[in-house]
């Protein structure tokens, strides 16, 4: 697929120099530098070949701004990095949000963080920084925001409408799970338009990363997705190991898989409880918390924390597992197995639940691709893509597991997929426990002051919510020059306005819940 794409790209754009990259080092197969005027045509090329835009980001190299597009395929491993260099003084670039819907928010983000103007973008206003800011935060030099730019950036406010009822769902609302705000323009009980408003939990982790050494940023990753912190830890750690060429002992890899999968189970069952609470059934919440508590106890035994873990280290683990952990994990497995028939009986077969979730929030394959949704939401659309299988990290390549996929792509399918993924995770843990080798849990001589090679990497892992992409640019210092997090909930939320349109407010709650959003992760 990589060679075919390379040839086609060369054939379609003869003036481009397509570079074949070392995938193991960089995380992408091809890279290509494109002139600003050609970017729409190149994006169209990838759109035709059913790529999705995994992430769009900007890096400030002082002499020029580089916009990076990562195009990726769902069913086979082929990643292409397209870069566009633009003038830092007057940064202007044509938008591709008309071709890839997922670019819509990414471009807004780049606009407010870097000041890049995307020509033709329908709505270049604040995404996170609604209170305004005097300079572009991610630029390396202090570039002031002009009054004119400020006015443009704050020109959009969704509740400005005369003749229809606007409801602010959030930032404090029982079913937005945190501080997401969704402005709903209503016609009676039907939603005419939904505008998610982000930024209430914005902490600028990406800027923090630039001011910290690599190990210092490690705890931050656990604060992004506080429900699936282990996956974020793992993503960051494996990305860095790949970038710096650190090898990890086998035993550490197995423990990483076990810990991550335990965390995935706890995340999924937490979602189950929270989702049913959204739908009005409050009891399952307490049942799953009872189960989750046991998982947290087990993880607490090895990591020392219950929620925002920081267990992995570059080159291994913080400490080794003990017999109590193994016994506890086995107990968790049998407990979850024994509890699931109960949930099936109480929830899956419940006629009210089925009627509430069937046929709502349908994400067709095409819509899923255009919005770059990932994780269980994507798999429900019938695209069984899982980064654990597609580009295995840690020791997932040695595990034998099935990736569930759905057909109807509605909320009920997403529910079923999540429940089946719990079973998948249990199987992975069982296999890992059976195969776990003895040996060291940490590579000796990992330098305290980590200075990876010059260059960049785009590394992806599968979190409970979907594809986490970490793009790191290293300049051979002990801090990242640029660190971009492509977080799954961000892309998954992007599809929400389309899904909510024309539905009842009760459906909007059910759809929002089915996407399993974690707000700190979206707002970063």
């Amino acid at each position: 697929m990589v060679n075919k794409t390379e040839e086609e790209l060369k054939a379609a754009f003869s003036e481009l120099t397509v570079v074949k990259e070392d995938y193991n080092q960089k995380g992408y197969h091809l890279s290509c530098d494109v002139a600003p005027k050609d970017i729409a045509a190149v994006a169209g090329f990838f759109d035709e070949r059913r790529f999705y835009l995994a992430v769009e980001l900007c890096v400030d190299y002082r002499d020029y701004l580089e916009i990076v597009y990562i195009f990726s395929l769902h069913m086979s491993l082929c990643k292409v990095k397209i870069t566009v260099k633009i003038d830092p003084v007057k940064p202007v670039l044509p938008t591709i949000s008309g071709i890839f819907a997922s670019a819509y928010w990414y471009e807004r983000e780049i606009r407010e963080f870097y000041g890049v103007l995307f020509e033709g973008h329908p709505n270049l206003t604040y995404l996170f920084l609604h209170d305004g800011i005097d300079f572009y935060p991610l630029r390396k030099d202090r570039i002031p925001v002009t009054d004119n730019d400020k006015r443009e950036l704050s020109s959009f406010s969704p509740e400005q409408s005369e003749d229809s009822l606007c409801i602010n769902m959030g930032p404090q609302h029982p079913s937005t799970h945190g501080v997401l705000r969704v402005v709903l323009r209503m016609n009676g009980e039907y939603i005419e338009e939904a505008f998610p408003v982000l930024g209430y939990l914005h902490r600028m982790h990406e800027k923090m990363a630039e001011n910290r050494t690599y190990p210092q940023f490690l705890p931050n990753t656990g604060r992004l997705d506080y429900i699936g912190a282990m996956s974020f830890n793992l993503g960051y750690v494996t990305a860095l190991e790949r970038l710096a060429g650190i090898t990890v002992p086998e035993r550490a890899n197995y423990v990483r898989v076990i810990a991550t999968e335990l965390n995935r189970i706890s995340s999924h069952i937490f979602w189950l409880g929270a989702y049913l609470a959204d739908l009005g059934a409050l009891s399952p919440f307490l049942y799953v918390f009872d189960d989750r508590e046991q998982i947290l106890d087990v993880l607490e035994g090895i990591t020392g924390s219950r929620l925002t873990y920081c267990y992995f280290r570059f080159g291994g683990l913080y400490n080794d597992i003990d017999d109590a952990f193994i016994a506890g994990t086995k107990a968790v497995i049998s407990r979850i197995r024994s509890r699931f028939p109960l949930y099936e009986k109480l929830v899956t077969g419940n006629v009210i639940f089925v009627n509430r979730t069937r046929g709502i929030g349908v994400i067709e394959k095409e819509r899923a691709r255009k919005n770059a949704v990932s994780g269980p939401v994507l798999r429900a659309a019938g695209i069984p893509t899982d980064m654990r299988k597609l580009e295995p990290y840690a020791c997932y390549s040695e595990m034998n597991f099935e990736i569930p996929s759905g057909q109807r792509a509605d909320a009920l399918d997403i529910y079923n997929i999540r429940l089946r993924e719990v079973e998948t995770s249990l199987q992975i843990i069982e296999q890992a426990l059976a195969k776990i080798p003895e040996g060291p849990f940490m590579t000796p001589k990992v330098p305290k002051k980590l200075k990876p090679r010059k260059g960049d990497i785009y590394h992806t892992v599968e979190t409970p919510r979907g594809e986490l992409g970490i793009y790191i640019v290293s300049d051979e210092t002990d801090r990242p020059y640029r660190l971009k997090l492509r977080v799954p909930s961000f892309s998954n939320l992007m599809v929400f306005p389309e899904l909510a349109k024309g539905n009842l407010i009760a459906d909007a709650v059910a759809i929002l819940g089915s996407l399993d959003l974690v707000i700190p992760e979206i707002d970063r």
Binding site: E189, L276, G280, D290, N350, F353, N355
Partner: protein
């Protein structure tokens, strides 16, 4: 002495004493039901519920009530003051009136009105009016939507409720609750009219806005629905009315279908209360088990299923009675 008994037996005194007792019972019942709800919820959710205040946490409702009384009543600036104050008071009137005609026992009855059930149903329609006033007067979008939902829901479910009760009225030939209970000395009507009982029970849950039909106060959608802007004792009045309504609809179900105060060995009122609280328990059981239905589904259940079924049931009842 004889004169005193005679005085007590006059209509007005009986009514006055009855209303005072009813008022006392309403508050007492609400205390019991809040405790019961928390205990039921607790045990269904792998918890034990309140246990610290008093034995088995029995004093907990009193502590809650004290807290609610002590709370400052926050009134948003933009409310319509008259309607806003009126709503919680108005919701409280009909629930007391209903107690006048409910037969707790063959003698424990304030007044046996020959159109007893009509009185209850007529006054219970006040509830929806006060919810609408509260929702409108709050000047809050969530409250307004909750109130609108409540009206649509109550209109839809009052019809099957009435039709279900009507089939019993046809069988017993009376609108007086006491006569209906007396008619069930031998066989309870639930065995003769199971369909009517199920229709009535579903509709009554909807009328009291309980899960799975708690759309006017759907927490995950409308925050708290029509009483979003109420706090302290004003909220407590809504709360009190909801629990009393649960008791009333259950006691009508017991009176019409489960033989009222009829039962062996124990005095009648014990049977009556046991049956009522059992039904209340079932309603609570529903709440902690089921998710909430969607609004269009809610209306469809009533207009497409319950109402035709209730009419059919009425028709069959009428036909069989004629034979």
């Amino acid at each position: 002495m004889g004169g005193l008994v005679k005085l007590l037996d006059t209509e007005m005194v009986r009514l006055a004493v009855g209303l005072v007792l009813a008022l006392g019972f309403v508050v007492f019942n609400a205390l019991i039901l809040t405790w019961m709800e928390r205990k039921v919820a607790g045990h269904m959710q792998l918890r034990i519920g309140p246990k610290e205040v008093g034995p088995f946490g029995l004093i907990q409702p009193l502590a809650d009530a004290t807290k609610l009384l002590g709370k400052e009543i926050l009134i948003p600036k933009a409310v319509d003051k008259t309607l806003y104050y009126l709503a919680p008071i108005l919701i409280f009137i009909p629930v007391i009136v209903a107690f006048v005609v409910i037969p707790f026992d063959s003698y424990l009855l304030v007044k046996d009105i020959n159109v007893g059930i009509v009185v209850i149903l007529a006054f219970s329609s006040f509830t929806v009016l006060s919810i609408l006033l509260g929702g409108w007067g709050s000047n809050n979008k969530y409250a307004l939507i909750g109130a609108i939902r409540s009206v649509a829901q109550n209109v839809a479910y009052e019809i099957p409720l009435l039709l279900a009760l009507l089939s019993i009225v046809m069988m017993s030939g009376s609108l007086s609750l006491k006569t209906i209970v007396e008619a069930q000395k031998g066989l309870w009507y639930v065995f003769v009219q199971p369909v009517a009982f199920i229709i009535y029970f579903i509709a009554s849950i909807a009328e009291t806005n309980r899960t799975p039909f708690d759309l006017p106060e759907a927490e995950s959608e409308l925050v708290a629905g029509y009483h979003t802007e109420y706090s302290g004792m004003m909220f407590a009045l809504f709360f009190l009315a909801e629990y009393t309504n649960m008791f009333i609809v259950s006691s009508i179900a017991v009176t019409f279908f489960l033989g009222g105060y009829n039962g062996p060995f124990f005095p009648g009122f014990i049977w009556f209360l046991a049956k009522v609280y059992f039904l209340v328990f079932v309603i609570m059981w529903f709440r902690w088990t089921y998710p909430r239905v969607r609004f269009d589904q809610l209306l469809n259940i009533s207009w497409k299923a319950l109402i035709p079924l209730a009419f059919l049931n009425l028709l069959v009842t009428g036909g069989l009675l004629k034979l």
